[in-house]
Symmetry: none
Amino acid sequence: MDAVAALAALAQDNRLDVFRLLVQAGPEGLTAGAVAEALDLAPNTLTFHFDRLRMAGLATVRREGRSMIYAARFETMNALVGFLTENCCGGVSCAPAKPSKPARKRSKVPA
Amino acid sequence: MDAVAALAALAQDNRLDVFRLLVQAGPEGLTAGAVAEALDLAPNTLTFHFDRLRMAGLATVRREGRSMIYAARFETMNALVGFLTENCCGGVSCAPAKPSKPARKRSKVPA
DNA sequence: CCATTATTTCAATAATCGTTGAAATATGGA
DNA sequence: TCCATATTTCAACGATTATTGAAATAATGG
């Protein structure tokens, strides 16, 4: 799971609303139209947001007749909450925050 | 707590690294310089990211001599995890299957 | 086939984002 | 005071974002 991608997918008002609605709907999901109606979003805007959620692993689609049915991927959400709990919550355990950068450009040049 | 603001603040690689480092450092925090060195970030870029974290309620600053010391706000982070667990996890527990520390159980768990 | 419904794709747009370099500010010490 | 250190502010810049309108695609029914 890419935590940053998942966080970014949820870090937008409309998209968070969409995801919450999908979570409420459960594994069976909702048609794009139902979400558009519930949240008053243009269908093309909604497609854009669904794509983001899908790319972050937070939603799936399937076609059913003319409708596209989107559903939340709970597994990814659980992984995200797990990541945040383990890495970003004070209390108990915090895994080391390790920078994945190759070199230090800004430190002093040794003599 | 503004969940979207907090999510957005963490939805960026460098900023997530910064926050994790602050969490790791605990309530005493770290100087801006220490974070800059640890993550190899330019000081002005870092100021920008600190500002975002602060605006989202995820960090605090205090001056100590010449240094600015940033610290994670665990309260906000815990609130965020709480929000996600309540609103985005389908009502069932989102907590990782493997707790890092034994917690007191409220009821008996069936085998 | 044609019409209707449901959704996506595409191009354009303004707005925001992350980074950089240069300059400014604040503090402490000689 | 002058100087070095630590950090911020400011003005750019290209990149990405969310939204819109128009057109395209897919499936169903007559």
